[in-house]
C-alpha cells in the first residue's frame, strides 16, 4: 500500500480520440490526449487506483496512480562514435595533425 502524503505520479486521459481537435493529423487523431502530473497522495492507495493528489502549487488533480517517488532516467545516451571522427578532423584542420 502507498501511504497518504507520499510523492507520486499520476496519469490521465484528457481527450478521447473522438474528442480531438479537427486540425490534428490522422495518426494523432487515433490516440487520446494524455496527461501526467506529480503531487502528494491524498489518501492511502495502490498502484493503478484512481486517486487525488495535491501538486506543489496546491492544486488537486485526479488520475491513475502509476509511480511512487518518481525519478528521472534521461541520460547522455549510448556512445556515438561519429563524434570522435569530428573531433579528430577539426583538430587536424586547425592545428595540423597530432598535437
Amino acid at each position: 500500500m502507498i501511504k497518504k502524503g507520499e510523492w507520486v505520479r499520476i496519469h490521465k486521459t484528457i481527450l478521447e480520440p473522438s474528442e480531438r481537435a479537427p486540425q490534428v493529423p490522422e495518426d494523432t487523431k487515433q490516440v487520446p490526449l494524455e496527461m501526467w502530473d506529480k503531487g502528494f497522495l491524498e489518501a492511502d492507495a495502490e498502484l493503478g487506483d484512481e486517486v487525488t493528489i495535491e501538486t506543489v502549487t496546491g492544486r488537486k488533480e485526479t488520475g491513475t496512480l502509476i509511480e511512487v517517488n518518481p525519478y528521472y532516467e534521461h541520460d547522455f545516451g549510448k556512445f556515438v562514435p561519429e563524434l570522435l571522427v569530428i573531433d579528430k578532423q577539426v583538430r587536424e584542420i586547425v592545428f595540423g595533425g597530432e598535437k
Binding site: I14, L33, M35, R59, H74, G77, E82, I93
Partner: protein
C-alpha cells in the same frame, strides 16, 4: 455555477480567459482593419530599456559575456576563399539563471505578474522558457505551472523535453506533461481559469521587449571592446522573439548590423504528428515554428504577438540537423565550450556566413543555451538512432528530416540554404487579406510594408497579384 469543461466550451471562452490572465486590452491598439499600432502596444504595455535593465540585473539576468571563437574562426577561414572569414563571436546567454536568453523574457513577465498582484504564473512551453519562468518565479516567490508537450502515444519522451521537465521541477514548478497535440492549449486555458494565475506568454510586449536588453548589450559590449558594432548578428529563430527583441535592442542602440535568422530544417515533419514527434532531434529553433510564425505571427497564445521577426530580418537561412551537431561538437573540441545544440543553430549558420565576409568583419550569434543530460548532441544522436534515423557522414544538403541525419564529411560542406524571404513577405500579405477579409486601406498598406520590411510599392504590387 460550474462551467462546462469540454474542449469546445473551453475554447469558446478563450478570449475571456486570455484578457483576465494577460491583463492587456489589445483592442486599444486595433484599427478595425488589418493594421494595428505595434509601436504603441510596445510602448504602453512594455517597459523602457532602462526599466528592463534594472528589473533583469536585479535578478542576475543579463550582462552575459561576449566570447570570441578564435579556433572556430580559423576553421572557417580554412574552408573559405582567400582573404575571407569574418571573426566569429557568440553571446553566452547560457550563463543566465536557468541557462538561456529566455531568462530575459521571464524576468519581465514575472515582474509584471507580481506587480499586478498575481499569485502565480502559468506558461505553455516545452522549451527553455519553462525553466526561465520557473527560475524567476522562484526568486519572486510566485507559484509556477509549466505545461509541456513531452511524450508520444507510446509514452516515449523527447530527451530534451524530459530534461526541461526536470529543470522546471528542480526550480520549484509544477510540470503538467501532455502527449502530442495542439490541444495542449485547452489544458493550458483550463489551468489559467482554475488558478487565476498570470499567463506568462512568450509573446506579450513585456516578454519580447525583455530581449531588447540582449541586442543593446551586444552593441555596447562590441563598441567598448572593438570600437564598432558587429557587422552581422545571427539569431536562432523559432517563434521570433529572439530575432525581434535582439533587433529592437540593436536599433535602440543605434546599431545598423545586418540581421540574419537561422532555423534547423525540419521540412516534411508535421509538428502535431504523434508518429513523427520523436523523429526530430530538435525541439526548438526549427522551421516547424520558424516559418509559420515569421510568415504569420498572430498564431500565438495572445491576440497580437509582440514577436514579429519578418519586420527585422534581412535574410533567413536554414541549416541541416547534421550541420548543427557537427558545429556543436567542433565548439566543444576547439573552443572548450559545451553548449546545447538547439542554441547552436545560428552558430552553424554563422560558421558559413563568416566565409562570405572579409576577415576584418565581425559576426555574432545572439545566444547560447545550457547543456546536460538529454539536452546534448550525444543523447540526441543516440535517441535518433534508436528511433530508426540513419546517421552518417556525407553532404548535409541531402539530409531528409525524419529519415536521416547527415553529418558533413568536411566542415566546408556546412552551407546553409536561403529561405525565399520575398515569398514569405507575399505570404504574410496574402494571409492578412484572407484573415481580415477587407479591402486594404492606405493605413493597412503602410502597416504591411512595415510588417514585411518591404515597401508600399511591394505591398501594392503583391495585392494586385492576389
Amino acid at each position: 455555477m460550474t462551467k462546462a469543461n469540454d474542449y469546445n466550451s473551453v475554447m469558446a471562452r478563450k478570449a475571456e480567459i486570455m484578457l483576465k490572465s494577460v491583463g492587456i486590452d489589445y483592442s486599444k491598439f486595433e484599427s478595425g482593419s488589418i493594421a494595428f499600432d505595434y509601436e504603441k502596444m510596445m510602448r504602453e504595455t512594455g517597459y523602457t530599456l532602462e526599466e528592463m535593465q534594472e528589473i533583469q540585473y536585479s535578478v542576475g539576468v543579463g550582462n552575459t559575456p561576449v566570447l570570441e571563437l578564435r579556433n572556430l574562426t580559423e576553421l572557417a577561414r580554412k574552408c573559405a576563399p582567400v582573404g575571407k572569414g569574418a571573426r566569429i563571436f557568440m553571446k553566452d546567454e547560457a550563463s543566465n539563471p536557468s541557462g538561456s536568453f529566455k531568462a530575459r523574457r521571464a524576468a519581465n513577465s514575472v515582474y509584471h505578474a507580481k506587480r499586478l498582484g498575481f499569485k502565480g504564473v502559468v506558461t505553455a512551453t516545452s522549451g527553455n522558457y519553462g525553466a526561465a519562468v520557473a527560475s524567476q518565479a522562484a526568486i519572486a516567490g510566485l507559484k509556477c505551472i509549466v505545461v509541456q508537450e513531452c511524450y508520444d502515444s507510446k509514452g516515449v519522451g523527447q530527451p530534451e523535453i524530459v530534461e526541461k521537465a526536470r529543470k522546471c521541477e528542480a526550480l520549484g514548478a509544477e510540470v503538467v506533461q501532455l502527449s502530442v497535440g495542439p490541444e495542449l492549449f485547452y489544458k493550458f486555458l483550463l489551468l489559467l481559469e482554475e488558478t487565476g494565475y498570470f499567463n506568462a506568454s512568450l509573446y506579450t510586449p513585456f516578454g519580447i521587449a525583455g530581449v531588447e536588453t540582449l541586442g543593446y548589450e551586444i552593441s555596447m559590449q562590441f563598441r567598448e571592446k572593438y570600437g564598432k558594432d558587429p557587422d552581422v548578428v545571427v539569431c536562432t529563430n523559432a517563434g521570433g522573439g529572439n530575432m525581434t527583441g535582439t533587433a529592437r535592442g540593436l536599433i535602440k542602440a543605434g546599431a545598423t548590423s545586418k540581421l540574419i535568422a537561422a532555423s534547423v530544417n525540419l521540412a516534411g515533419l508535421h509538428m502535431a504528428s504523434d508518429g513523427q514527434f520523436n523523429k526530430k532531434s530538435f525541439t526548438t529553433g526549427h522551421t516547424g515554428f520558424g516559418m509559420p510564425f515569421a510568415s504569420w505571427p498572430d498564431r500565438s497564445d495572445v491576440p497580437r504577438s509582440a514577436a514579429r521577426p519578418l519586420r527585422y530580418m534581412e535574410r533567413y537561412v536554414t541549416v541541416a540537423q547534421g550541420e548543427v551537431f557537427y558545429i556543436t561538437e567542433a565548439l566543444a573540441r576547439l573552443e572548450g565550450l559545451e553548449k546545447g545544440p538547439a542554441g547552436n543553430t545560428a552558430l552553424a549558420a554563422a560558421f558559413y556566413l563568416a566565409q562570405e565576409m572579409d576577415q576584418d568583419q565581425t559576426i555574432i550569434v545572439s545566444e547560447t543555451e545550457y547543456t546536460g543530460a538529454g539536452k546534448h548532441i550525444q543523447p540526441q544522436l543516440s535517441f535518433a538512432r534508436d528511433n530508426g534515423i540513419e546517421i552518417f557522414f556525407g553532404d548535409p544538403a541531402e539530409e531528409v528530416p525524419g529519415k536521416n541525419i547527415i553529418l558533413p564529411s568536411h566542415p566546408s560542406l556546412i552551407k546553409p540554404r536561403d529561405v525565399d524571404i520575398v515569398h514569405m513577405r507575399r505570404s504574410l500579405i496574402k494571409t492578412a487579406v484572407n484573415t481580415y477579409k477587407v479591402e486594404p486601406t492606405e493605413e493597412d498598406i503602410a502597416f504591411l510594408a512595415e510588417e514585411t520590411n518591404s515597401s508600399v510599392e511591394f505591398v501594392k504590387e503583391t495585392l494586385k497579384s492576389l
